[in-house]
Amino acid sequence: MTVIIRKIRTALQREYLKSGGIQIQVAIDQAEENLGSLAEQCLDQIDETIDLIAEMTADPRRRPSTSELLRIHALVNVMLGACAATNTPGLVDTLYALARLVAGLLATDTWLDGALTPAVNLLRLVRRGVLGPDEIEVLVGGIDQCTDRISRLDHLAIEP
């Protein structure tokens, strides 16, 4: 097996210290200001996406298909991206908890009725800003417990 190790000087390495640049803190502030101008449309997108996921999980007795779960996972990641331009306390933690839950469901065939409903409802409440940080922490912990329970159920199901 041949391994080639080379030292390469990229354009970024050549250019980034050249004179005429801007203060690093100014660059960060400008980027944050630019992102701030996207906040409203990002919040709209988050609201639309939550509605879409709520529609997909409306029947608590039906396990979403694998392709639906993958779609929900992708939608959660889109919302996480949109969070760069918004500042809704607890939203990122809730989205990651939902993503972990969906990943847990994707790893198993088991289904608990309404497994996704509390997470979707929590997402709505967090987005509206009606919960305090302590309440969000407890409820996100509850979603993670649900994820653990689903993975344990799967473990029990495959034992002889």
Partner: protein, 204 residues
């Protein structure tokens, strides 16, 4: 061994004006977030691609100095685009710094992200401060570029914290102590040493 960039004083200014960047995201708003962040950093030329196919076409045509790519694209994984670029041998694009922006990843995608050859994986939501920190790190780092059968990309072994305690002989060639042989001749004189290191005028 890679020189830790933290050993150098961080610069107070940055000049990204002449850098041409490519942002790849299948979501229009995601693309806005990536490009607006770079525009804020002073990057004047930001090209946007909304699919892996579009990104490939741009990378074949233009010289790109920096790539920001979402890990989850509609048609394929962003990590696969990175792997393709690293293997493409399209210089200088194949060596460009690539930052993959990733939300929650399913297990196979985590391994894919590790092995695709990106310079850094940044978790969502993207924060300008974190992206700037990573850009400065990549720009200052003396990371080698590795091309092997199963991997092409920046050397992943950049967190060099000495020889592992459980492997006293080390894992790398440079971990092993160098054995110096006995001197084979007389020491060089100062004049000879000066002749080696001082610039000499050459007239043709």
């Amino acid at each position: 061994m890679v020189t830790p960039p933290s050993s150098q004083p961080p610069p107070s200014r940055i000049n990204l004006r002449s850098i041409k960047a490519l942002c790849i995201d299948d979501n229009a708003q995601g693309l806005d977030i990536l490009s607006q962040t770079l525009l804020g950093f002073g990057v004047d030329r930001v090209i946007r691609a909304q699919s892996a196919e579009e990104a490939r076409a741009i990378l074949k045509k233009e010289i790109i100095d920096l790539v920001l790519c979402d890990a989850q694209l509609a048609d394929e994984s962003g990590n696969d685009v990175v792997r393709w670029l690293r293997r493409s041998q399209m210089e200088p694009n194949c060596h460009a710094p690539i930052f993959v922006v990733m939300g929650h990843a399913l297990k196979p995608e985590v391994i894919n992200a590790r092995d695709c050859g990106s310079s850094f994986v940044i978790t969502k939501p993207l924060s300008p401060a974190v992206l700037m920190q990573r850009i400065l790190w990549v720009a200052a780092a003396d990371r080698a570029f590795v091309e092997a059968e199963n991997y092409a990309g920046p050397d992943r072994r950049f967190k060099f914290e000495g020889v592992p305690a459980d492997v006293p002989e080390g894992r790398r060639m440079s971990d092993k102590g160098a054995n110096l042989g006995q001197p084979t001749g007389a020491n060089m004189s100062q004049e000879e040493l000066d002749g080696m290191v001082k610039p000499q005028k050459l007239s043709l």
